[in-house]
């Protein structure tokens, strides 16, 4: 027969855990709402940057721009993961997606390089033998200062111009809804400008004046595109992280509740059994005396 003392202790301990998971769920929910708002703004920004770049797609200058026709053999992955755990399969999903991509690279003889945002990723990718870890950034705010990506953009620009990378992919998690997240692999380079929609006064027919010249405008547009894509990926990733942490903490909370219910039942049964036993003993003793 289980000891009622031990059961009580376990119930108390699970109760404490439940309090923690409940608090973490609330914190994640609050953070998520704040970041979701920023994510929709980042969306607008990224779309606008992409449109501006799309307006240049007819220009001859892009035929020779390495961002549109990169020549390198290697591939760079910029991977957004989290600093902290307890967010369900958030990081595991990202690492799986990365591993699949690396495996495909191995077949085609490409050596992957990685820049990671998040402590978990820095640890994970540092172990990989066939990967060149170019940079790791930790403790990035959910909605960081926009200048945070300046070093990475410089690395990318230098490497693409020097013909080091033939492709650059972003791997991050995006939220389809609060309850559904999926890992997204976005091809950052080579740049594929969106197809122009040819409506009545379609932009394809407009001839744009470029000031001061095509090259400078293209450079600015590419920089804006890189910045907007990274910015958007970071905020989407943060929103997804908080959503997944909220869901996993909600599950933990429910599991703790179930555990407490089960243990309480067991405790009651045990106590009842002890009472029944004592009663039986008293009755049999009274009968023996009588």
């Amino acid at each position: 027969m289980a000891n009622t003392q031990a059961l009580k202790r376990r119930i108390r301990s699970v109760g404490n855990t439940q309090q923690i998971t409940k608090a973490m769920e609330l914190v994640a929910a609050t953070k998520m709402r704040r970041v979701q708002d920023a994510a929709s703004k980042a969306h607008t920004y990224a779309d606008a940057a992409m449109t501006a770049l799309g307006r240049l797609s007819a220009n001859v200058e892009i035929k020779y721009n390495p961002f549109f026709r990169p020549v390198g053999d290697n591939k760079l992955y910029i991977i957004f993961n989290s600093d902290r755990g307890l967010a369900g399969a958030y990081n595991a999903n990202i690492f799986n997606a990365a591993a699949t991509a690396f495996a495909a690279d191995k077949k085609s003889g490409t050596r992957p390089s990685v820049i990671t945002y998040g402590r978990k990723g820095a640890r994970y990718f540092a172990r990989g033998t066939n990967i060149e870890l170019l940079g790791e950034y930790e403790n990035i705010a959910d909605i960081p200062d926009i200048n945070i990506f300046a070093p990475v953009i410089e690395t990318i620009t230098d490497a693409v111009m020097a013909g080091k990378f033939g492709a650059i992919d972003l791997i991050y998690t995006e939220s389809l809804s609060t309850l559904s997240q999926r890992v997204r692999t976005l091809n950052l380079v080579p740049i594929k400008p969106p197809e122009e929609v040819a409506d009545a006064k379609g932009p394809a027919e407009i001839v744009y004046e470029l000031e001061p010249n095509a090259e400078v405008v293209l450079d600015s547009a590419i920089k804006l595109y890189l910045q907007a894509s990274l910015w958007r990926a970071r905020i989407e990733a943060a929103a997804a992280e908080h959503a997944m942490r909220m869901i996993s903490m909600n599950n933990a909370n429910r599991n703790a509740g179930d555990l407490i219910d089960g243990l309480t039942l067991e405790l009651n049964a045990t106590r009842q059994a002890a009472i029944t036993q004592e009663m039986a003993e008293i009755i049999s003793a009274a009968e023996a005396i009588a």
């Binding site: 703004k41 980042a42 607008t44 920004y45 501006a52 926009i146 001839v207 405008v217 600015s220 547009a221």
Partner: protein
Amino acid sequence: MSLKFQLISGDGIKFDDDVYEVLVPTKDGVIAIAEDHMPLLSAGAPGVLSIRHKSSDSAREMEHFAVYGGILQIEGKEARFITDDVTTSEEVVEREAQEALARAQKLVETADSRQALDEAKHVLHQHTARLHLAQLKKRHHH
């Protein structure tokens, strides 16, 4: 006579309205755009972007923003300026902007590599734009 102007930053749409005229800092200098400007894509420069809402508005009534480079895109009656960051005149204080500018100048002087110097110059341009914005705000309050 009006132009639909949008100012878009990483923090969403900062301005979206019909205006009379916009003064935009570009790499070729400040340009004024109004309705039916020719289609244009221009590389933006750090500086102050000023919006005149109505043709009768005086300089005092113009709305100002500090921007830090980006792309100006004009087509027909619509124009937009896309930039990574925008500072509104409510967000700057002249004294703070001046101090920040002094710090940025020191950074430029003490930069010990090409990269550090580029970054310091970038910061310097940003703070110059902010200070300019703060001074405009002060002038219009008096």
